[in-house]
Subunit: 294 residues, 2 copies
Amino acid sequence: MKAYYAAIEAGGTKFNCAIVDAARNIIVEHRVATTTPQETLAQTVDFFKKQRAAGYDFDALGLACFGPVDLRKSSATFGYITKTPKPHWSNTPVVAILAEALDCRIEFDTDVNAAAIAESRWGAAKDTEVSNYVTVGTGVGVGIVVNGKSLKGLIHPELGHMLIPAPEGIQGQCPFHGNCVEGLASGRAMSQIWGVPAETLDDDHQAWDIQAKVLSKLCHNLLVSFSPEKIVMGGGVMAKPGLLDKVLRYTEDSLAGYLVLPDDLSLEHIICLPGLGSHSGLMGALALVLDEPV
Amino acid sequence: MKAYYAAIEAGGTKFNCAIVDAARNIIVEHRVATTTPQETLAQTVDFFKKQRAAGYDFDALGLACFGPVDLRKSSATFGYITKTPKPHWSNTPVVAILAEALDCRIEFDTDVNAAAIAESRWGAAKDTEVSNYVTVGTGVGVGIVVNGKSLKGLIHPELGHMLIPAPEGIQGQCPFHGNCVEGLASGRAMSQIWGVPAETLDDDHQAWDIQAKVLSKLCHNLLVSFSPEKIVMGGGVMAKPGLLDKVLRYTEDSLAGYLVLPDDLSLEHIICLPGLGSHSGLMGALALVLDEPV
């Protein structure tokens, strides 16, 4: 009998819910708005119960969740969204609520960690030992994969909050840190800095050049921190045509010849767009429940 | 029969050579100046041959080496010091030279990676899954340990060259990057910025406050990058009394309450001095040849 899996990419704006098979076919997909835990989780449970009734039974669910979350299995608050600025969601035991309602095994990681695993398993970072997945959207997140597993540590990385030198005349917008990557380069920060939504900025607006400079500092720091074989750059803002090329050029400038890459590799080979397009997150949720690479 | 191991902490100034037993007793120790590869390696080989003749036989040597080095076992230049600014040492096949002269197994890593492993196995980062070892001496290096192994990736981390915002009025001295951590906080940079050797600066000189601010930015970025359970801070400059406390205070300020640590942990618990004192490097070389934690 064919096996199905439940997958949720739980973001701050929407929960993307799907029934997926082991060959990564999305059988049914449904989006639930992220409002309150009560409402959003009830609608999520309802969707999956209907799928079961329709014959798409599953006994494992992968949950790729916005954070911060508690990933430590030994912790009393494992599976919680912890202290988040998002209203209503602090201290929500998402894993326990879904596990009880759907009576199934749940594998849990951050949304960006899961996407990083998916890209390293099936996408642009396939066949690497160390890779980074960057998402530049409303916020900025980076997931780290080492030998197929996400790097967690004490909590989990929060690389959007890495401090970098700000370009001259630009004031970072992070309420905690000012000039961290998220404060300078997230879609939210771009809107605040330039006064209009990022997607409405003309192709030749200086904002894109400055954006590329900021992201090149992130890439520089990722390269010297993790020595990744791939830095996969996804998220809505990275979809801007030409942005990746600018980031590459400025990263080269920033490194100033210091890093000598082996085997005549060029940065173009390392810093790239996602292989799974906009599906990194959902495929990440699937990756969490599939033990072995497919 | 008691087993002995050869250990070398190969630094840019000296090669610290020793015969060590599995209980980490240093039986004989000898320093060789780092001049040219011919001279330094010949004297190193000579020391170990004499130890063998004296009854301290060994069949494995741990080499914790200054970098950049090639750690990829599949590479044609595995075991080389690659392109280094240090005169005479670029493209030196240190592993092959020592293996041939001493006819033994050699395990090889960077000096800072090896020290990081030693601290995670026996020192201040014992019983952690993810830890960082920072050395602030003539240069700045950071080794990353994940589940007992050093993080290598494509080359190996070069975290001294992480870009950070410079304190106002301070000009970083790195010839490649200006304001990277090494350009701002290494002993060499301190001497250049203040015009006198760092160790001669008075306790109440503003240099120490600025040094602590720079290192707090490094700690901030390590915390959000690796989510380490420990950041062990060693090296000659960190031996300055009171410096660690200042770094802790400024790191707390820099994070601005963003990171909520689990189990009421405080930063004092995470950021600390080495457990192995000045022996992290040599014990690191030993750790490379001991397969199992002792």
